[in-house]
């Protein structure tokens, strides 16, 4: 394992080094220590390497990740793994607002709680939250799945497109055009698979499913009260 001490190595050098690893690199396991809440840490990674981050980390950790597996042994700031394309980002603690924003693919696992706007505008990523999520989560979410093992804050799934939401606990309120949908055996099976992939121990049968009513897909003046 390669260990990089961010107290001694500038972040710019760390990111550049990880981004420029050759495709056939043997250096597949990395540990970052003394990260001290650095922003934009381990962003733009594009190889199937594993990066362990020891300690709390700042904004946009794992942003636009491709193929890499990033594990944060701490808490995360705003915009965790924003626009992730593929690979996996796992947080052992909590994540702040806008976790997984606009994520296009891959998997994000937040073992603790996530703040507001978790999964905002997500476009294909799967997000599994072991705890609860804040208000306006999955706002304008387009594709992918948001799984919440705890509770969801107000206006869940507001202006939702085709993303799927599963919540085990209470939902404070649903946003515009978001409705509860039937949890069929097909959905239970898909959720079981996703929970297993995320390594989260929960019974898929206990979850409720939410999705778009698709009433606001095309603007119509009769719907103005919904906005």
């Amino acid at each position: 394992m390669n260990v990089i001490d961010l107290a001694k190595t500038p972040l710019r050098e760390v990111n550049s080094r990880l981004q420029k690893l050759p495709k056939d690199t043997n250096e597949r396991l990395w540990k970052l220590v003394n990260v001290h809440g650095e922003h934009a840490c381990a962003v733009g990674l594009n190889q199937p390497i594993e990066v362990q981050i020891e300690g709390h980390i700042g904004y946009y950790c794992g942003g636009m990740n491709q193929e890499a597996t990033i594990v944060v042994n701490g808490q995360c700031g705003v915009g965790l793994a924003e626009n992730i394309m593929s690979g996996e980002v796992r947080v052992k603690g909590n994540a702040s607002a806008a976790a997984g924003a606009t994520g296009q693919g891959g998997l994000i696992v937040i073992e603790g709680d996530a703040g507001t706007r978790c999964g905002i505008s997500m476009k294909g990523v799967d997000i599994v939250v072991g705890g609860s999520v804040g208000a306006m989560s999955a706002f304008m979410a387009q594709a992918g799945s948001l799984v919440v093992c705890g509770d969801a804050g107000a206006n869940l799934g507001d202006s939702l497109y085709e993303a799927r939401i599963y919540v085990q606990g209470k939902v404070e309120s649903l946003g515009a055009d978001c409705v509860e949908k039937k949890m069929t055996p097909h959905h239970v099976a898909k959720l079981e698979k996703l929970l297993q992939r995320a390594g989260i121990n929960a019974d898929a049968k206990n979850f409720k499913r939410y999705g778009s009513a698709r009433k606001l897909y095309n603007f119509h003046v009769d719907n103005v009260d919904a906005y």
């Binding site: 710019r12 934009a40 946009y60 942003g63």
Partner: protein, 442 residues
């Protein structure tokens, strides 16, 4: 006394003018506001309200067609490892594939590349055609993040974080379902045929402190190579420019209310935001106050039509201008050649502004393959190159007349205003006086 009865001709109200009356009728019949493109159509203070003084006994001109007048621009000198080098001070503004046809995007690339300037993507991501046809391509990071990915980010020559645009500062957008073909839908990860909302706020940052970190992330992903622009609609230009600089921008793009390729509600276009004339001087003042003028470059847009507009924008302190509507017109938009088709749409060449509906007779603002075929990207690109060449030559003509060996040497002292309003906004004297409203002198 004549017995002929008096005839009082019909008199339109200045308040309830023909347009207002027609709009009330239209609104009453349809129950919905009007949506259109083409920017503010009412008259607002603009570059026409300024004049260059030219040379005189106290100023020495340069010889036209003989003496050199430079037009090159370097953008992104503050932080980027690879600043952008342009041959002319006119760039092409961001317009999306989706709003525009693939052929139109390609044509913009051809025209800009021939003249040594840049094009810009738009909401919906980067298409291979525009990357190939554009030697210098600016990649927009918009609130919707449609099609955003790190590979395209690295392929770009610069990155433009779009906070707002002149046609609708504070507003998002809507690409109507009829323009959402399979390809457009796939690029945006949404179903075919639904209206695609472009968000008005970024999903992962909310203010200048966050934006600073967002820009840091973009730089880290692209190895600090690319210039980062921040584009704002003209609303509070002094503070927005200062905050953009504080956030770490290499370039500030300021778009006035005449900026028009984005379709939105007519009431929004006509009543929100500032004309570009009113926005340039406060933005330049902010740069000067921060000792960043010419270090952070300023691009202005919104209603640029000719070389005089370019020269005036530069004289007020901009480093370059961007064109959108004028570029589409140069490609062939609103060409009288398609008059019969314009008539069928209830309009006439020169007035067509329903660019969002996808029925553009010129094949530019459409995804209809039959209409799109009408635009030959190579020929249209040549027309754009011609137009850009004329803009540049006209700018040089004026600069030489003012004795400048580079267009960036134009300055406010070269200008006067024809109206009190323009004098106040541009911070130049009213013609024939030394009076700048709000400042000393009479």
């Amino acid at each position: 006394m004549s017995s002929t009865p008096f005839y009082t001709p019909p008199r339109w109200s200045a308040t309830f003018d023909p347009h207002s009356v027609a709009e009330i009728h239209r609104a009453a019949q349809t129950g919905i506001y009007d949506i259109r493109g083409a920017g503010a159509k009412r008259r607002v203070p603009h570059f026409d309200d300024l004049l260059f003084l030219g040379a005189s006994i106290s100023r020495y001109p340069l010889e036209g067609y003989r003496e050199k007048c430079g037009t090159d621009v370097v953008l992104g000198t503050r932080f980027a490892k690879k600043p952008i080098q342009l041959k002319i001070p006119v760039t092409i503004a961001g317009m999306s594939f989706g709003a525009l046809s693939g052929n139109a995007k390609e044509a913009l690339g051809h025209g800009a590349t021939q003249m040594g300037t840049s094009t810009t993507t738009g909401d919906g991501g980067m298409t291979p055609e525009e990357r190939i046809s554009s030697k210098t391509l600016v990649y927009q990071l918009l609130p919707s993040r449609y099609g955003m990915n790190p590979d395209d980010l690295r392929k770009a020559d610069a990155i433009e974080v779009v906070v707002g645009q002149g046609a609708k500062p504070g507003g998002g957008g809507m690409l109507l379902g009829q323009k959402i073909t399979e390809r457009v839908a796939k690029m945006r990860t949404l179903p075919v045929g639904i209206d695609q909302r472009s968000a008005c706020r970024h999903p992962d940052w909310t203010g200048p402190d966050d934006l600073t970190i967002k820009i840091q992330e973009l730089r880290e992903i692209t190895d600090w190579e690319k210039p980062i622009y921040i584009k704002v609609g003209a609303t509070r230009p002094y503070f927005d420019t200062a905050l953009a600089v504080k956030s770490g921008a290499d370039v500030v793009v300021l778009d006035g209310m005449q900026g028009g390729t984005a379709a939105t509600q007519d009431v929004f276009i006509e009543h929100v935001g500032l004309p570009i004339l009113a926005a340039i001087r406060p933005a330049v003042q902010a740069l000067q106050d921060l000792d960043m003028h010419r270090k952070v470059q300023l691009i202005v847009s919104g209603g640029i039509r000719n070389g005089a507009d370019v020269a005036k924008a530069l004289a007020l302190g901009a480093d370059a201008v961007a064109i959108g509507t004028a570029a589409l017109i140069a490609l062939g938009d609103n060409d009288p050649h398609w008059e019969e088709d314009y008539k069928k749409l209830g309009t006439t060449a020169g007035c067509y502004d329903d660019w969002h509906e996808g029925r553009d007779p010129a094949g530019i603002t459409t995804q209809d393959p039959e209409l799109a075929k009408r635009l030959d990207p190579v020929k249209a690109g040549k027309r754009l190159a011609n137009f850009l060449a004329v803009l540049t030559m006209e700018t040089q003509i004026i600069a030489r007349a003012c004795g400048k060996s580079h267009v960036h040497n134009l300055e406010p002292d070269d200008l006067v205003a024809l109206t009190v309003e323009a004098a106040a906004m541009a911070g130049v004297p009213l013609a024939g006086t030394n009076w700048i409203p709000g400042k000393s002198g009479m």
